[in-house]
Symmetry: C2
């Protein structure tokens, strides 16, 4: 299973549907341009792919879930636009962020407008399939609860920035909200649209949550070790930016004083030298923080794959297994 090729095929399938929900002719033009900006800049379309593949894995067709798959990408991009404002990030997907180009007010509205479309797209899907009321309500509940959980995760993230004593458990709860909630929603809605049994819905939900969290941990690893050519950011960028990821949380609680000092010399210092960054990375490896996070992510992926045992063998199931591995093997 060539996962990258599979993701590309899914992306090609969902792309026209994403476009359909943000038609270029809608007025005012600036609103639509701001809504489309990050979507057009790229992205792997991982969440729509999860939705369509989950639907297929329970016996449905990819096309059965296509409006909601598109909705997941609108949803994801809504969170990115608002996140970038809050984090004062200036670049994403190699382009300037929405608020940098159009200002914060337009960026806030563009995010809200994408969020508005999420529910309209999901409603269209339920209507087309003639879903029953119970499933339709569950579809909407899944989307709206995920967005609330995402908000909770974002607030935790902000609160943690001001604290030095964040625990591993707290960090895990935060990324579960910030990243896991939406990937769980992606697979869950796919299962709902494929008219899956409760057991399969539950299994695919757990799978989605686990790979989402593992995805974030891999992101944390790449933020420290990822190579510029592939990951798009210089090595150790998260150290310079002072991002309090699990690697740092772990290192700060387990490193001896001398190592801790080396780490803190580079951590959060935008003017840290390459040599200081190199030494800090060495510390993160030496005290076992890197391996700890990598191992934890791998275990989550293994657990996610185990959840899929309730599914019959199929190409879609194979794809879900492949995506789970990809999440922790990717270098970008």
């Amino acid at each position: 299973m060539d996962v990258l090729k599979y993701l590309e095929e899914c992306a090609a399938l969902v792309e026209p549907e994403i476009n359909r929900w943000i038609p270029r002719e809608v007025q005012p033009e600036v609103l639509v341009r701001a809504m489309r900006h990050l979507i057009e800049a790229g992205g792997k379309r991982l969440r729509p792919c999860l939705t369509m593949t989950a639907c297929e894995a329970v016996g449905g067709k990819k096309e059965d879930a296509i409006e909601t798959a598109a909705a997941l990408e609108l949803f994801h991009n809504f969170t990115l636009i608002h996140d970038d404002i809050m984090d004062h990030d200036e670049f994403r997907r190699n382009v300037k962020t929405v608020h940098v180009i159009w200002g914060e007010p337009i960026a806030i509205i563009a995010g809200d407008a994408l969020f508005a479309k999420v529910f309209e797209a999901a409603a269209a899907n339920a209507s087309r399939l003639g879903m029953n009321l119970e499933r339709t309500v569950e579809l909407f509940n899944t989307l709206s609860r995920a967005s609330f959980e995402l908000c909770q995760g974002q607030v935790l993230d902000m609160l943690f920035e001001k604290r030095d004593d964040v625990t591993e458990e707290e960090y895990m709860r935060m990324i579960s909200g910030k990243t896991g909630a939406l990937t769980e929603a992606a697979t869950r809605v796919g299962a709902l649209l494929g008219n899956a049994s409760r057991e399969k819905i539950q299994a695919l939900s757990s799978y989605g949550r686990l790979i989402g969290v593992a995805f974030q941990m891999q992101d944390d690893l790449l933020g420290v070790l990822g190579k510029q050519e592939k990951f798009g950011k210089p090595i150790g960028s998260d150290i310079r930016e002072g991002k309090r990821t699990l690697i740092i949380v772990k290192a700060l609680t387990s490193a001896p004083e001398r190592e801790k000092r080396i780490l803190l010399k580079a951590f959060g210092k935008s003017n840290a030298t390459n040599e200081e960054i190199r030494k800090a990375i060495e510390v993160l490896k030496k005290v076992g923080a890197v391996e700890y996070v990598a191992e934890k992510a791998r275990k989550m992926v293994a657990k996610a794959k185990m959840k899929l045992k309730v599914l019959p063998d199929s190409k879609a199931k194979e794809a879900l297994l492949g995506i789970a591995d990809f999440v922790v093997e990717r270098e970008f």
Copy 2:
């Protein structure tokens, strides 16, 4: 019909339901406090009241629409929080705005979180009533299309701030999105939940749109003429702030040069003297701009009331007629 008393009764009915959707024990505490802040600060609960009354006017019970009525208030407060950020407003309902107290990031998230709850509350309502798929989908479409239209209106509002040549038609389109879309949604969902005929759904939708737009025009009038004791802002505050309302649009296109100069001496000048403001208001009256807007709002209210002819006589219908009048008679 004592409209104020009626609104208070509706508000008392919906209040526990609004509270139920933002439980105090949800974590992180700061998120819930930010979500609840403006809701607790007051407001007439006009939109929930419209929803419940519309439901009753088509033969349902107020309680049939209570979750969605609460959702409308969450929705309204979501737009207020994001609006206040964009307009840099520091006070609303006599309290500091959310972003002033907690900062912009928390305010953005608090708005998003309220928006998330809108759809969960509406889903709960559809589920409780056992609505059919078609109506359920229409319920969600109404809410999500209204929010998209609201975004369009907000962007227009921002674009107009930079322009001197906004036409009456453009202004009307803007407030139709910014205010009319949500009041239309309020009455429309009430009619849907009351299982109304297409004719009645359409009539109540038009009624909602018309009184929303009239409400905004009355707000514009109060922004110029409203007395501090009642309206809560000093006389002529919109002139000092340079708000480009229909009154100004009209005055700038119809006033002779001399009057225009008097007006522009105070318009958008935060340090304008009370005497300059008084003279500017005199101009707005003299050139007929005040009466033009008041008359236009009254005509819209008359048209809104006409739409209700398709409804049988009832206490609820009487209330809707009373609310329509209240919209243009209120002094606060």
